[in-house]
């Protein structure tokens, strides 16, 4: 009896493991299979094992660590800055209809211009160094965060506010104990979207010009005709983007489940 239970547990764990491992296995097989078909020369479609060895080489020389450190610094600074401003702005226009009527149109107008179209102007203003990249990333993070925060704060049901009024809450505790918890899921969604936008824009910003960074490493690989380096870059940015998104989604679902239990 106990043996069967352990067996069930084992098989369930194995099943979970297989479910996690299955997608990357399919991707690797498809990649390798395409290489083996021989439709493209190996210099054009680099097989996975070459990409792995190039990755290890770049890691041994510390190149990829330097690139990732520079890129991570940019994303974190830009996201922290843009996210903080977006949060503040979103709460402000969400709470105050008057403030919204002053600047809502401006927010909406500026939002129509995609981040990438800001790059030339920002380069003219800040030069092509770090500042421009961080500002561009901050801009990309600002809009989803501000918009979702606005949605969350505006979406708090009026009944909640009325109950708080009956209990005689002060404005500060209304914010802290009613509006903020009610708006939290939406805010977290905004932060997640903001972070993935930041990551997306980082790659674009580094392609413009930089001396270090993951996007620069790829562009450099392109100029030297080293497709393996470019593909290492693609795999790395894909994996990091995936990890960021999965991590924040996990946090988001934990948060919502916690609320459901209450």
């Amino acid at each position: 009896m106990t043996g069967m239970v352990t067996q069930g547990k084992f098989w369930r764990a194995a099943g979970r493991f297989a479910r996690i491992l299955y997608p990357p296995a399919v991707v690797l097989c498809a990649w390798k299979g395409l290489c083996l078909l021989g439709l493209f020369p190996a210099a054009i479609l680099v097989p996975p094992e070459t990409v792995l060895s190039t990755f290890l080489e770049l890691a041994r020389s510390g190149e990829i660590q330097d690139a990732l450190a520079a890129s991570a610094r940019r994303v974190l600074l830009g996201f922290a800055f843009g996210g903080a401003v977006g949060l503040t702005f979103g709460v402000a226009i969400g709470l105050s209809h008057r403030f919204e009527s002053y600047v809502g149109w401006l927010f909406e107008t500026v939002r129509q211009i995609p981040s990438i179209a800001w790059a030339p102007l920002l380069i003219m203003i800040f030069g092509i160094q770090e500042t421009f990249k961080i500002v561009l990333i901050a801009k990309a993070a600002f809009f989803p965060v501000a918009l979702n925060t606005f949605d969350g704060v505006r979406g708090v049901p009026r009944q909640y506010r009325e109950v708080a009024e009956i209990y005689g809450f002060s404005y500060a505790s209304l914010l802290r104990r009613v509006i903020f918890p009610a708006a939290l899921p939406s805010i977290v969604t905004g932060l997640r979207l903001g972070l993935s936008r930041s990551w997306m824009v980082l790659v674009a910003a580094e392609l413009f010009a930089s001396s270090v960074g993951i996007g620069h490493m790829m562009d450099w690989g392109r100029q030297l005709f080293q497709i393996d380096i470019v593909m290492v870059g693609i795999v790395v940015i894909g994996l990091i983007g995936f990890a960021l998104d999965k991590g924040l989604r996990y946090g988001e679902s934990r948060l919502q489940r916690g609320r459901g239990a209450v």
Partner: protein
């Protein structure tokens, strides 16, 4: 009260994610009235600040040219036909790229949703490729196809394809179980089930995907023109103007890009309303 509470999570689901960022606008809540002085006040202050800054001595006035100069630059570009030439090329790229990308996305999404085998074999590859930001493909695509028109097309098609495929998949997958049961009760064939039941019920999400796809494709056009070789295009015009320190042209390009994006989104919304007329008022 119980009703309100229970309906919350559903609303969240529908309004979360990209859908929320692209579809919901503060402007819906903000009922625009021309006699409302507040927006005009901010607008006037902005213009005044701009004029003031452009008359300051020093480097800021080099970058922040006066509104009058932007206007003159815009007139010059319009008369010479430069703006029109560049704009037309960009619009052609977005139309072609979006058509191909959305078509492929619809097919891919439908195939993934309808065939379990296809989903198991191609789904992981699609999801893996999707993780890479669109512009991350620029160096690789540049090596494969050169930095010409083909590469631009690949980037634009990719940008349009992801959201369309994803939302088509979601839409077909999320068809309510009751609908499927009714379809089975009426002994509909596979094809009838797809076109009479699944496709209509997926239309709202597919339209969302098409909207996202079009705005991503437009962004990709601008990016591809900035990153790749110098062929006419609004992004290229903007990049060249940056090199020449022609802020007026950069401002004008940004305005044109923003306005075009807005109009395309508005057009898609009109199409969406027309296609979804059959839905009852409360879910629209």
């Amino acid at each position: 009260m119980a009703d309100v509470v229970s309906s919350r999570p559903v609303q969240r689901r529908a309004g979360s994610g990209l859908v929320a960022t692209l579809d919901r606008k503060p402007w819906h809540a903000w009922n625009w009235k021309p006699w409302n002085f507040r927006p005009w006040l901010v607008f006037a202050l902005l213009i005044a600040g701009w004029v003031w800054a452009s008359h300051q001595p020093g480097s800021i006035s080099l970058i922040l040219v006066s509104p009058g100069a932007v206007f003159r630059g815009a007139r010059e570009l319009l008369w010479s036909g430069d703006l029109w030439l560049n704009y037309r090329m960009s619009v052609e790229r977005v139309v072609a790229g979006f058509s191909i990308g959305a078509g492929l996305g619809l097919l891919l999404g439908a195939a993934l949703a309808l065939s379990a085998w296809f989903d198991r074999l191609v789904g992981p590859v699609f999801n893996a490729v999707r993780q890479v930001p669109v512009f991350g493909w620029v160096p690789l695509v540049g090596l494969w196809f050169g930095l010409g028109e083909t590469s631009k097309a690949v980037i634009i098609v990719l940008a349009a394809l992801y959201p369309v495929a994803l939302q088509t998949y979601e839409g077909l997958r999320r068809a309510p179980q009751q609908y499927i049961e009714v379809a089975e009760m009426f002994l509909l064939t596979r094809r009838q089930k797809l076109f009479r039941v699944l496709a209509p019920s997926a239309t709202p999400l597919i339209m969302t995907g098409l909207k996202q796809g079009l705005s991503f494709a437009w962004m990709a056009v601008v990016g591809a023109e900035l990153f790749m070789s110098a062929a006419p295009g609004i992004g290229n015009m903007m990049g060249a103007a940056r090199g020449l320190m022609r802020t007026d042209v950069v401002f004008l390009s940004m305005f044109v890009i923003g306005a075009t994006g807005f109009l395309m989104n508005y057009g898609m919304t009109l199409i969406e309303r027309r296609l979804l007329r059959w839905r009852p008022e409360h879910v629209r």
